[in-house]
């Protein structure tokens, strides 16, 4: 490995990190603003233009606050949990390609943290890891409400992880028919969604896999513990859930992890179903640097479309009861996902090999 290659890797990681932190600052502000608009309010408007620096102000405040440790806390796990929450959130986004590869000084730079050939499995593994943070935080706080939140997190995450994985399976199977063999690499999945059907429909997985998309959307909302599936932190029922006993910078890390998770999961939804960074770049008619940056803009636009759906759901839907959550996960989503896998694989088989009797 040359110095240039190593430098590019470091650059990519720093880029991903900066993108996520910047996106979180925007996301927290955007959520408050969107929810305020949906309730005929103004929302944050004091810090900076349109209140856009509100998150920075909040972050600074949290940074200077005392981090209280409960007397009955299991100190090691209690201190570990916030880091365990942030780490998977950032690692998930490392898999997501957020722009077209470009060449600089003879070196090809891919705009992606790392292009693993098992990218999707890595994503599933990391999103399962994120549950540990919640469970350990809840358990180690030595307090009853956090414990309830942690217990809720275990069952909820396992239920919806399954539906999310099955929705991904349908996408992977469909992607395999779109090119040469199956793949789990997100860069390859994006590349296979390039182009159009019939000249005007983008070749996104959204259209042939619409059922998988709906299941995936529901599952990622539950996976990131967002309303209406925020039973883990339901403040009306169990105070703050798993982060009740956390304060100061430790709480800020959970907060950061939640919003990074929203952005990462939305980015994955955009990558798997909305064609990732694919989009018209008008190469030749526009200046070269605009064409080079347009894929990233398409990617961010698609991601923020999904992020907006998160905010919209939060402003609209009341929280599910626990049995409703479970019955939706196990009795509706998982059977629906399994049925969809069968239906779509039969359809793909018929398209590839023809009807069995012909």
């Amino acid at each position: 490995m040359t110095w240039a290659e190593a430098g590019i890797i470091v650059l990519r990681v720093v880029l991903v990190f900066a993108l996520l932190l910047g996106a979180t600052i925007i996301n927290v502000w955007a959520e408050r603003k969107v929810v305020a608009d949906m309730q005929s309010r103004i929302g944050p408007s004091r810090a900076g233009p349109w209140g856009i620096l509100q998150t920075v102000a909040d972050g600074l405040k949290l940074f200077f606050k005392e981090s209280v440790t409960p007397r009955k806390a299991e100190l090691g796990t209690f201190l570990l949990a916030p880091f365990l929450a942030v780490l998977p959130a950032f690692l998930i986004f490392m898999m997501v390609p957020f722009g077209a590869p470009f060449t600089i000084g003879g070196e090809e730079v891919i705009l992606q943290g790392a292009d693993l050939n098992i990218g999707l499995l890595f994503i599933l593994a990391m999103s399962s890891m994120a549950v540990y943070a919640v469970v350990l935080a809840g358990w180690s706080s030595g307090s009853k409400y956090p414990l309830l939140g942690g217990v809720r997190a275990t069952a909820q995450a396992i239920s919806y992880e399954a539906a999310m994985g099955l929705a991904m399976v349908a996408v992977v199977m469909f992607t395999a028919t779109q090119g040469d063999g199956g793949t789990l690499s997100l860069a390859e999945i994006v590349a296979r969604q390039d182009g159009t059907w019939a000249g005007f429909i983008p070749r996104w997985n959204l259209f042939p896999q619409i059922v998988a998309f709906v299941i995936f959307m529901i599952a990622i909302v539950a996976e990131t513990n967002r309303a209406p599936f925020d039973l883990v932190e339901a403040e009306q029922e169990i105070v703050g859930g798993f982060h009740t006993e956390y304060s100061g910078m430790r709480f800020a890390m959970f907060f950061l992890a939640e919003y990074v998770n929203i952005f990462s999961m939305s980015a994955i939804a955009a990558t798997l179903f909305l064609g990732g960074w694919n989009g018209p770049t008008w190469e030749g008619t526009l200046p070269a640097f605009v064409s080079a940056i347009l894929p990233t803009i398409w990617f961010l636009a698609k991601t923020y479309l999904v992020v907006f759906v998160f905010f919209w759901l939060r402003a609209t839907l009341p929280r599910l009861r626990y049995d409703q959550l479970m019955s939706l996960g196990w009795k509706r989503l998982i059977p629906a996902a399994l049925t969809w896998i069968v239906v779509s694989s039969v359809a793909m088989g018929v398209r590839q090999f023809g009807l069995p009797w012909s």
Partner: protein, 216 residues
Amino acid sequence: MGVISDFLKGLGVTGGTMLRTITGREMVTTQYPKERRHKPQRFHGRHVLNRYPDGMEKCIGCELCAGACPADCIYVRGMDNDPHDPVSPGERYGYVYEINMLRCIFCGLCVEACPTEAITMTHLFEFSTTNREDAIYTRKELLMDAEGNVPHMFPDDPLIDTDELLTADGWVRATAPAGSASYEGVQMWQPTPGPASWDPEPSQDEIDARSEPSDG
């Protein structure tokens, strides 16, 4: 599927509200110090002790306001007028007059109880203080001066609107002194010699028509 159509209907409500808010057709927030809501005519704000047009104090130190006060926040002590230099037209005047604004519930019973319309309520409601002593208003803060200007505790406060101090409680004007709405259109009782110095009391309909409802 009822659930799905209900779900979409809910999204429609929030989405529609968002569009209306962004385009400025719907907004419940008032940017308070910059824009102020229209106050109703009968708003119960800070009290003021009035004077007659000739500069005499209206308060006769009868303590009926203190007796009527359900929160026991008014303290009055009367004193005999000096016959050669009277403070009020009556026999006595309010020598000490204190209202503890921390206890006051702004019910307006003192205003109703007052036989001479000496105490009325204004439209001013911004009078937070940083210590308890400042919240006890005395004659110094309550009594209007001979020109009819009402003192404010913090005259330099950029938030205060001194016009509000001159807007009296309309309801009291319409019903005092007997506490009956039949006094509408009748010239107010005025225990000073000579003709009354103000117009007859307007009816409630006239009051409503006059005060423009700026914010619905």
